[in-house]
């Protein structure tokens, strides 16, 4: 007999649910993302399919769907003992360009139904291959997806088993209202401060969005380049290193390439994703979203020279992190889960308070760390996420085995192919260039 289980969603999950809903309303496809493993050889796809089915049976939560409890808190409902398969897409490409185009198309394809949240793809290109997990951001975040792949690899190798059925347990979060309300006050104050006289510079979003897909440009720096970037980051951003360096370089390249096309304004406002998992995340933190956001605002005039700008970014990042904004937002967001879905857009916009955001930014550095995946050597890990419609543009960094990967994701027609290529050239130059004071 099948038993129904439920797991309450966090406030951040509810924000992701909102973004998914807005994306579906606008484009017809939700907030889907993809973790791609570049492999030195093709996988045994028949063995993968068989193994994937057994693995998924350990985690029936992947076939859940969102519902709302009588106490109005949203929850994830799933059937224990469910044995639904996840689709495996297999393709042979004649070139890397063709393989990449196939993978990019995968992330723009809506899931078949409300209970489908994962797809696995495998593309063979000559002697090497790509394996990817296409995931619904309501079920997994970027690090969760990488950890999920790693766990699957361990299961495939016979080094991971579960001694008892896995159950997700989470409280409803409907207590300590005063604490959450106070966190909400701090978040609100910070938003007011950020939005005060802010004329945000952003790329105008096309009016008609139905059917528009997301496009991606990716690059993986080799070990020598990555070491050089790390050294520059350490040199220029000091002990805070990578995240401020990446963000500052991205903002500079963004302004250089799109400066004339951006909306009139004097500031860049950038939502930054940050991981809020516990120090030793277990299976309970594998699924759903364990991230939060903080927002950074810079004056356009402060971006050059880069060294000074990096110092400013480091300082602002330190203030945002040490001030606990991300934690406050996670707490405060528990409060507005009780809002009906029809008001989600309004809630989202009133929360943001900005007329436009410049671009989304994240840096994931604690994800997949096995050097192999199901019998193949992993040469790089890349993410291709569909970004929230506002801002419609995202810059994402990830690191695997000492090599840094960069993804530039953008809504179709928000910029041209040439502009995307120009941006990639510029950001790579900035990241690798030694700037003098």
């Amino acid at each position: 007999m099948r038993t129904k289980s439920l797991c309450y969603l966090s406030g951040i999950d509810w924000i992701c649910y909102t973004l998914d809903h807005l994306s579906k309303e606008a484009t017809g496809c939700g907030n889907i993302s993809q973790a791609i493993l570049c492999l030195d050889r093709p996988l045994d796809i028949d063995k993968i399919k068989k193994c994937l089915l057994s693995f998924i049976r350990l985690f029936p939560v992947v076939n859940g769907k969102c519902a709302r409890a009588l106490n109005l808190a949203p929850y994830w409902s799933y059937l224990e003992n469910a044995s639904e398969d996840i689709p495996v897409l297999s393709e042979t490409a004649t070139s890397d360009e063709e393989a990449v185009a196939f993978l990019h198309a995968c992330v723009n394809q809506p899931f078949a139904n409300e209970r489908e949240h994962l797809r696995f793809a495998h593309v063979i290109v000559g002697a090497h291959a790509y394996a990817s997990l296409i995931f619904d951001h309501r079920l997994l975040d970027a690090r969760g997806a990488q950890n999920f792949l790693q766990l699957f690899h361990q299961f495939y190798c016979g080094t991971f088993t579960l001694s008892e059925p896995f159950r997700l347990e989470r409280p409803s979060g409907l207590s300590l209202w005063k604490e959450k309300f106070q966190a909400g006050q701090r978040v609100n104050r910070r938003f007011l401060e950020l939005s005060h006289n802010a004329q945000v510079r952003y790329l105008p979003i096309p009016k008609e969005l139905k059917g528009r897909k997301f496009c991606f440009r990716t690059v993986t720096f080799n070990r020598v380049q990555s070491d050089s970037i790390t050294e520059l980051a350490y040199d220029m951003a000091g002990y805070l290193m990578m995240a401020p360096y990446f963000l500052a370089a991205s903002t500079l390249a963004f302004q250089d390439v799109f400066g004339k096309r951006l909306s009139k304004g004097d500031s860049f406002v950038i939502p930054v994703n940050t991981d809020i998992r516990s120090r030793n995340p277990g299976l309970q933190e594998l699924f759903f979203n364990h991230l939060s956001f903080f927002f950074m605002r810079f004056a356009s005039d402060d971006i050059k020279p880069l060294r000074g700008f990096i110092k400013q970014v480091s300082r602002l990042m330190y203030d945002a992190m040490s001030g606990g904004f991300a934690q406050d937002l996670a707490k405060a967001s528990l409060l507005f889960r009780v809002v009906p879905r029809v008001f989600l857009d309004t809630v989202h916009r009133s929360l943001m308070r900005f007329r436009g955001l410049s671009f989304s930014f994240s840096y994931v550095n604690k994800g997949y760390d096995a050097l192999e995946f199901c019998g193949a050597q992993v040469t790089a890990v890349i993410h291709t996420p569909r970004v929230a419609i506002d801002p419609g543009v995202g810059i994402f960094f990830t690191q695997f085995n000492g090599c840094i990967s960069l993804t530039f994701a953008f809504l179709e027609d928000i910029l041209s192919e040439e502009e995307a290529n120009l941006f990639m050239d510029r950001v790579q130059t900035v990241l690798l260039e030694k700037f003098k004071q």
Partner: protein
Amino acid sequence: MTKKEIEQILIREIGIILGGVQVSEDVQLHELGLDSMGFVELLVFIEKKFDLKLVDAGLDRDHFRTVRVLANSISEKLC
């Protein structure tokens, strides 16, 4: 507080931040996997524990190279 005591406090805290990783006095902090978020956690901890304001104190990468170097910097500021 002696330098040795400061080192022990830092070793304990960095171990916690990194989720139980063994830390020694002379290992490079960034090689341990201490990222931006980890450094902020460490900085906030030091500021609270030793009642210091470090973020504006002009500390650079060299001051955060190893536990021993960091303990020296803290010790100098405490004097």
